[in-house]
Every structure is written in structure tokens, then in C-alpha cells.
């Protein structure tokens, strides 16, 4: 039974997602991009950084930039507390820490569960990172694409 489920899971392009809360909304990203999840530590602020970059922290010897996902997604900037969580994620060749309110769930879904993004989203920016929505136990979770949120080309062009 498990075997057949797993096999089906693979063939229908099933995937695991990690869901988290930012403000009063829930989002999820592909779990394969997540390296680790850790608690908030004060960051060293960076000069001339965009407002959503909170600064950099020391991740076992590597310098890790921390992005306030709330501010990045156009919501109210977070006021980090010890209860906030940093999701350390791989975005292309770089590793970035995403500040979120809490990690809520790990979801195993198949692609057919992903509904297209509703038409109400007006901003180009929101359209660019929203990859669809999921209905899980009465909640709505928005699947987002990290690479769309941090497009590398523009950074290199900068």
C-alpha cells in the first residue's frame, strides 16, 4: 500500500512543501530548498540595504543575509522577537535566511492539488512569485517561488 502510494506519488510529480505563517497569511515553499530552520538572532545591519534586508548573521562561519519576508511580500515589516523563526533556504547559488512568524506544517501534495492563482491578484509583483494556492483543512496556503522573489540577474546587474 505504502509502496504503491509512493510510486504513485513519484509518477504524478508529488512533492513535499514546508508551510509557514507570515502575519495572518500562510505560505509554502518546496522543502528541498530549505536547509535548516533556526531561531532568531540579532542581525548586524547593513549600510545601504533595502528595507526588507534586516542584516547579516553568522551561520556557523558563513555570513547569512536575513530577509524580512513580510516586508518583502509587501506586508507590514516584522518586529523580530525570539519567537520568530529563520528559514535558511537555498536560492540559486546563494543561501538566504527568511524571517517568518512560525513554521506551521509539512505538506505532501500532488500537483493536481495546486489551484491556479485566483484572478484577484492585481500587482505584477505578487503574480510573479505566487505559483498557486492550496486548500488544506479549510486553510488557504499560497505556494511561492523563492527564485522569483530574489531574482539573481537583477542583483548581478546592480
Amino acid at each position: 500500500m505504502t509502496m504503491t502510494y509512493a510510486a504513485k506519488n513519484l509518477t504524478t510529480n508529488g512533492r513535499e512543501l514546508i508551510a509557514f505563517r507570515v502575519g495572518d497569511q500562510e505560505f509554502c515553499v518546496n522543502i528541498m530548498l530549505v536547509r535548516e530552520i533556526r531561531g532568531w538572532t540579532p542581525a548586524t545591519s547593513m549600510p545601504h540595504a533595502p528595507s526588507y534586508v534586516l542584516g547579516v548573521i553568522n551561520l556557523r562561519g558563513a555570513v547569512l543575509p536575513i530577509v524580512d519576508l513580510s516586508a518583502r511580500l509587501g506586508m507590514k515589516p516584522a518586529e523580530p522577537t525570539v519567537r520568530h523563526v529563520i528559514i535558511v533556504a537555498q536560492v540559486k547559488s546563494q543561501v538566504v535566511g527568511l524571517l517568518v512568524d512560525a513554521v506551521s506544517d509539512i505538506l505532501t501534495i500532488t500537483d493536481d492539488k495546486i489551484q491556479p492563482t485566483p484572478d484577484v491578484i492585481s500587482s505584477e509583483f505578487e503574480k510573479s512569485f505566487a505559483r498557486g494556492v492550496l486548500a488544506i483543512e479549510g486553510r488557504m496556503i499560497c505556494l511561492i517561488e523563492l527564485e522569483a522573489i530574489f531574482p539573481q540577474e537583477e542583483r548581478e546587474a546592480a
Binding site: T44, H48, V63, Q94
Partner: protein, 765 residues
């Protein structure tokens, strides 16, 4: 180990050989006539040819072969290595390097150039030698005279002759008209040490025709004098072949240096004359040449007892001919022949020479090749260790105010040890600048050729060591500067003569250590900087105002501005607009500084000062607007506590500080980095007097100094992006990230070139 790895090693060795070749040729160019230098040059080309042959790199082999042939003429004093000859040879070395690179990276080379050089080399080889054959012709020596003194043998042993009758290669019936060669093949222990096999050579030889072999064991000492790594045997070979002497030499090509080889042509059909020992071909199992030496040998002897001993000795012989790994077996064989006692004198002589050879072999410092990644990993780990140690010390200090002496002492020792480990690990990466300097001599040659100038490059301090990353990144700016020096700095020979200088220009490249940094100087004895021209050009390009009052030094430093080239016409070599500004930027990217000083008519000197490593930095830890920053210690000239009376407002929002009666602009670091909105009160803070590139001092205002510390440099770019005004990051004792200030960028920003808040981390707009 697969083929690619072996090939990689070959290319690494090629690089070493090419370096050897070039330095040898340059020595010859300087008038060195030491035969050993010529030999070293010859060996380098020979080794490359040998290895290239093994990998089937035909282009490389054919060029190396011609080169080698010409070098052989020099070696045998048939060609005098004059300047003209050496010019061709240096060019050939360059082409050889190109061919090697092409073979490795799959690129292509200028075929016309190598063909042209092949012609020139051949002309040289033929010009002064009989054009009959390019191959070296050794004086013909009769075998008896050539052979070592007849083996002393108390027991009346007769050396056994054996032939390759059972050899399974297509057998050619011995043709009576085939010339017979007598070959004496005397391996030295080096031959085996380098992994050559006498047996394999002999087998290859047997393919050339009908041959009989006679092994001379006369030099074999008694067991107690036997050195397992020495060669005691030699072979006398009688070979009937129509392939000629060259073919025979080809067999020994790779071993030529490590054996005495005598080849002589015996008159046709005649059996080797003067051979006192009966050469009875004996059936000989060739498998011994391929398999374990332990395989017994079928020997037909008249006296059975002797035959048994002979067999044992033969085993020993083959063992020795194999690698030294079979020492035990050889020892066993030799034990079974205890009666055998060669003349002690010969034996001790052999032992002595063997010992001498071993001593010579082990004289060089042993080295290993290590993957750079492994070293880098080690360096990273040590960096972590240093940070952790600092964190540990800090938490002990914070938690244990009493300072239990044993803990503190332990920590102090730990600190000392980590510092020592760090230094040692850094030393692993330290490499002499020699390879880069050697590359420069080629650049000088090429540009001198192109511009028709005569240039001599003198290098000093080639063995100065610096971190490998620095070396790797040094080549590009240095190349650029050398090009500039030859192209713009030096005058044409006519102008030089007119100015009373020698026609040949000199470019001097020196490296030395000075106060924890490496200083590289590039000096030319050319015309120096034409300050009028530079000034005019700067005015034309709106770099300075027409009436600007600039010191000579400031004018000289104008050449580091972007888009500055004073060459009247844009040449192929330099002067394409990307000039010294690129050089300056790459030097700065390395944490280095560059300066120029010039004397009209006497030339210019570029002085570069670079950090020895890019991994650590001595810094001053300061506080600015509640942020901890690190200022590189090398930039700081002095620190001072400003007094209110020393601060003078200047213009709308500039402030100057008077230091010993000179005024220096005051720069608020917190303001420039946008850490605070208003300018801090200078009296409450500390001023760091810094010196930046392009001259000029600035006083950087910080809130407080925490102390001096060695910090491990961490890249910001790896996960983030370049931040203007910030050079890199580091991790302090409390585990937090601190930013390292880019003093030059801060100073530039204070001059009005704004620190552009570059788009960073997904600035979607």
C-alpha cells in the same frame, strides 16, 4: 588512478619542466655556460617529449623532438648558444608551453608560428653540424673496450647468455645480411628508481630482430654489502637488426639518462668478436620478463650444482631489475647462494657509489602534491577554530569575573596554539612568486618583439612567498603593467641612444616582504611620465580643472583614472582605454595599494603593496552608531581624540580637523554608511587618520575604539552582494557578524563620489 589523473599529473609536471626550461634558457642568455644548465634544459624538453609520447600528443612530441635535437647540438658543443640562438630557443619554449596548454585544454595553437620555429630550429641544428642525421652520433666503441673490466669471479662462474627464442612475437628468421649490433646496457639505480624496467627495455629490443643477451653479474656484492636499491647487473646484447642504430636508441629513449649505453656496429655476419665468453643461446622463458620475478628460469648448464646457484642469482638479478618491493625474495635467493663472493673491492665500491646516489636522491626536501580544495577546507576550519576560541574566551571573561587562573591559563595557551596553527596553515598556501615572474619574462619578450624595442627583464626576490590566491590574481595586473612599461615606458632604441642611454631598456621586477605585506616593484629606465601630457589629457577629459594646482605626485597618480591612456596612438599592446585604472582596481580588490613615482628621463617605478594572505586581516574594532565595524589596521596612520578647538567648519556641511597645523577633512563614518541621519559630534568620538590610495589623508570619525584584533575575512558576496563602503565581513568573539570597512571607498565617497546604494537582494523595481 585512471588515465585522466595520470594525464593531469603529466601536465603538472610539464609546467614544472617548462619553468625549468625557461629559467635554464634565461641563465644561458645571461652567459651561463655550465654544462649542467644545458643538461637541465635538455632534460626538461626531453621529459615533456617522453610524457607527451606516452599520451599520444603528436604535435607536442614532434615539436619537442626538433627542439631537443637542436638543444642536443648545444649540449655536444656543436652549436654555440649565442644571443640569436637563444632568442629562437626562448621562442620555442613559449611555443612548447602553448602546445602543452593546448593539449591540456583542447585549444588550438598558432600552427604557422610553430612551423616557422621548427624550421628555424632545424636550421640551427643543421647549420653547424653535418646535416646527415639529426640524431646524436656517439663515438663508436668496440664492445670489449667499452665494457667494464671483465667480471671478477672467484668461483669461475660463466655469465650465461640467453636468447629470446621462445618469444611469441612473429619471429623473423635471422637474415644473414642483417647488420649485427653490440649493445652494452648498464642501468644505474636511478633507472629503477624512476620506474623503468630493464626487462621491458630488453623485451622491446628483442622485437627489433634476432638477439642474444648476456647478463653480467660480476658487480654483485655479498649479501651484507648488497644495497636493495642499487643496480649491479649489466647486459651485453648482440642484436641482428635492419632497423638501424636509431631504432635501438629509441628503445632506450626514456632510460637514456639513467644508464650507460654503448651501441656499436659489428661487421655483418660476424659473431661478436673479442668476446671471450661462449655465447651459447640458451632457451629462456620470456614470461619472466612479464610476470613475477620468482618464476624459475630454465637454464642449461654443464654443472648441475652451479646451475642451481646460477638460477638463484638470476632470480636475484631479476628481482633487482624489478622494483625494490621484492627485496625479501632477493634476499632469500641470495642466502641460498652464500658461496658466491665477488671481489670485495668492487663490491664496496659499488656499495659506496650506491650510498652516494641515495644520499643525492634524498638531498632535496621531500614534497607532496595536495589538492587545493583540501588546503582551503583546512584553512576554513582553522578560521572557525579561531572564532570559536575567541567566543570561548569572551564568554569565560563574561561569566567568570574572578578569573580562575587555571581556566585563564588554559585559554591563553589555547589562543597561542590556535594562532600558531593558523600561521602554519597559512604557510601551506604560501607560494613563491616565481611562476608569475617567469610568465612576465615571456610577456616582455613578446612585446619587445612587437614594438621593436630591446628589453631586458631583471627579476629579484622570486622566492618571496605569498598566499596562492594573491599570486593567482597578481598575474593579470602585472601583465598589464609590464606591457605598459615596455610599450609606453621605454623609448625606442634610437631615442634611448639619443638620450645617452644604452639601446637596451631595462625593466626590473622585484618582490620583497615588508612589515607583513609583500611589496612588488616594477621599475623601468624609460622616459618617465610626461607630466605635461598627462595634465593636458586630464584637462581634456575633464578629470581636473584647467587651473588645478597639482603636485607632481598627484599628476603621476592621474594615470590611474579610468579611460586614461597617454600613448599617442592606440597600439595593439596597450592603450585601449582600459589601462591603469583596471590595474589599480584589481590590486585594490586584493586589499593592496599601488603607487607610482616617476623621474623624467630616468623612468618610472610602480610600487604595489599587497597583503600576504586574503584569509585574515589585522583590524581595529570600532563602534559607529551602535554598530561594530572593523577598520583594516594597514590603512590607519594614527588615532586621535579631537578637541573642540581643532574642529573647523568648512563650507556648508564640511568639517576639517587641524592636525599639527595642517587641515584634514573629517569624515563621519556613521553618516556615510547611513547608520545615522545627522553628523555626530566629533568631540565625543575618536578620529582615525587614514591614508587612502590616490594620496590624501582623511580623518574618519568613529564613536569609540574597542581594540585591535586579527579577524578572519568572510565574503559578503557569497550569499549577499557587494556593499559599497564595505570590503568584507568577519565574525567577532561574540559570534556576531561585523563589517570590515573599505577605507578607500569611504574616502572616495567623502570626496563627493557618492556611495551608490546599489540594487541589492532582489530590488524589484
Amino acid at each position: 588512478m585512471d588515465m585522466n589523473e595520470i594525464k593531469e599529473i603529466f601536465f603538472q609536471e610539464c609546467e614544472e619542466q617548462l619553468a625549468e626550461l625557461e629559467s635554464g634558457l634565461l641563465k644561458l642568455n645571461d652567459g651561463d655556460r655550465d654544462p649542467e644548465t644545458v643538461n637541465a634544459v635538455f632534460r626538461a624538453v626531453h621529459s615533456i617529449k617522453g610524457g607527451a609520447g606516452a599520451f599520444g600528443l603528436d604535435d607536442l612530441v614532434s615539436f619537442a623532438h626538433v627542439f631537443e635535437t637542436t638543444l642536443d647540438c648545444v649540449r655536444s658543443n656543436r652549436l654555440d648558444p649565442g644571443p640569436e640562438v637563444l632568442k629562437v630557443m626562448l621562442k620555442s619554449a613559449d611555443v612548447l608551453a602553448d602546445l602543452t596548454n593546448a593539449a591540456r585544454d583542447g585549444g588550438s595553437v598558432d600552427g604557422a608560428r610553430s612551423r616557422q620555429l621548427i624550421k628555424e630550429l632545424e636550421a640551427l641544428a643543421n647549420g653547424e653540424v653535418p646535416p646527415a642525421s639529426a640524431a646524436p652520433v656517439e663515438p663508436v666503441v668496440k664492445p670489449v673496450a667499452a665494457a667494464a673490466p671483465p667480471p671478477v669471479n672467484d668461483e669461475g662462474f660463466q655469465p650465461v647468455a640467453f636468447s629470446f627464442d621462445d618469444f611469441d612475437a612473429p619471429e623473423e628468421p635471422p637474415l644473414m645480411e642483417m647488420p649485427v649490433y653490440d649493445i652494452v646496457f648498464k642501468p644505474k639505480s636511478d633507472l629503477y628508481a624512476k620506474g623503468n624496467e630493464a626487462t621491458l627495455l630488453l623485451r622491446d629490443l628483442s622485437r627489433l630482430g634476432e638477439m642474444s643477451i648476456h647478463c653480467d653479474m660480476g658487480a654483485l656484492p655479498t649479501l651484507d654489502r648488497l644495497s636493495p636499491e642499487s643496480a649491479y647487473f649489466f647486459w651485453k646484447i648482440s642484436l641482428a637488426t635492419d632497423k638501424g642504430e636509431d631504432a635501438i636508441r629509441t628503445v632506450f629513449e626514456f632510460a637514456e639518462w639513467d644508464c650507460d649505453l654503448e651501441i656499436s656496429l659489428v661487421s655483418d655476419e660476424t659473431a661478436p668478436s673479442g668476446e671471450e665468453l661462449p655465447m651459447q643461446p640458451v632457451p629462456f622463458d620470456l614470461s619472466i620478463l612479464d610476470d613475477e620475478p620468482a618464476v624459475s628460469v630454465g637454464v642449461v648448464e654443464e654443472e648441475e650444482q652451479l646451475a642451481a646457484q646460477q638460477r638463484d642469482i638470476r632470480n636475484a638479478a631479476v628481482s633487482a631489475a624489478g622494483t625494490a618491493s621484492n627485496v625479501l625474495q632477493m634476499a632469500q635467493s641470495a642466502t641460498r647462494a652464500p658461496t658466491e663472493k665477488p671481489a670485495p673491492a668492487a663490491a664496496s665500491a659499488a656499495a659506496q657509489s650506491a650510498a652516494a646516489q641515495q644520499a643525492a636522491a634524498s638531498a632535496g626536501t621531500p614534497t607532496i602534491r595536495v589538492d587545493l580544495d583540501r588546503v582551503d577546507r583546512l584553512i576554513n576550519l582553522v578560521g572557525e577554530l579561531v572564532i570559536n576560541q575567541a567566543m570561548l574566551s569572551q564568554s569565560v571573561v563574561e561569566n567568570d569575573t574572578n578569573g580562575t587562573s587555571s581556566i585563564n591559563m588554559g585559554l591563553e595557551e589555547l589562543q597561542q596554539l590556535t594562532r600558531e596553527i593558523q600561521d602554519s596553515v597559512m604557510a601551506i598556501r604560501a607560494q613563491p612568486v616565481k611562476p608569475v615572474f617567469q610568465r612576465m619574462s615571456r610577456i616582455v619578450r613578446e612585446i619587445a618583439d612587437m614594438t621593436g624595442k630591446s628589453v631586458r627583464l631583471i627579476t629579484e626576490g622570486e622566492n618571496t612567498e605569498v598566499d596562492k590566491t594573491v599570486i593567482d590574481k597578481l598575474a593579470e595586473p602585472l601583465t598589464h603593467m609590464i606591457r605598459n612599461a615596455v610599450d609606453h615606458g621605454l623609448e625606442t632604441p634610437e631615442k634611448r641612444l639619443a638620450a645617452g642611454k644604452s639601446a637596451e631598456g631595462t625593466v626590473r621586477l622585484t618582490a620583497k616582504h615588508r612589515s607583513g605585506r609583500i611589496v612588488i616593484e616594477l621599475a623601468d629606465d624609460g622616459a618617465g611620465i610626461n607630466r605635461e601630457k598627462v595634465r593636458q589629457k586630464a584637462i581634456d577629459n575633464d578629470l581636473i580643472a584647467a587651473d588645478a594646482n597639482l603636485s607632481d605626485e598627484e599628476i603621476d597618480n592621474l594615470i590611474f583614472h579610468a579611460g586614461f591612456s597617454t600613448a599617442d596612438k592606440i597600439s595593439d599592446i596597450s592603450g585601449r582605454g582600459v589601462g591603469m585604472d583596471v590595474v589599480k582596481r584589481s590590486i585594490q580588490a586584493l586589499g593592496g595599494r599601488i603607487n607610482i613615482s616617476s623621474k623624467p628621463g630616468h623612468g618610472s617605478v610602480f610600487i604595489m603593496s599587497l597583503p600576504l594572505t586574503l584569509a585574515v586581516l589585522d583590524g581595529m574594532v570600532v563602534t559607529v552608531a551602535n554598530q561594530t565595524l572593523v577598520v583594516p589596521l594597514t590603512a590607519i596612520v594614527e588615532t586621535l581624540q579631537p578637541e573642540a578647538s581643532a574642529i573647523h567648519s568648512f563650507g556648508s556641511n564640511q568639517r576639517l580637523i587641524s592636525i599639527r597645523n595642517s587641515f584634514c577633512p573629517l569624515v563621519d563614518v556613521g553618516r556615510i554608511l547611513n547608520f545615522r541621519g545627522t553628523q555626530a559630534n566629533p568631540v565625543e568620538g575618536v578620529a582615525l587618520l587614514v591614508e587612502s590610495e590616490g594620496g590624501g589623508q582623511r580623518a574618519l570619525m568613529v564613536d569609540a575604539i574597542q581594540g585591535q584584533r586579527q579577524v578572519v575575512i568572510k565574503s559578503l558576496e557569497a550569499n549577499y552582494t557587494h556593499v559599497p563602503g564595505i570590503a568584507a565581513a568577519t565574525i567577532l568573539g561574540d559570534g556576531r557578524v561585523a563589517l570590515i570597512l573599505d577605507v578607500d571607498a569611504i574616502v572616495a565617497a567623502s570626496r563627493g563620489q557618492s556611495l551608490k546604494p546599489e540594487m541589492s537582494l532582489a530590488a524589484v523595481g
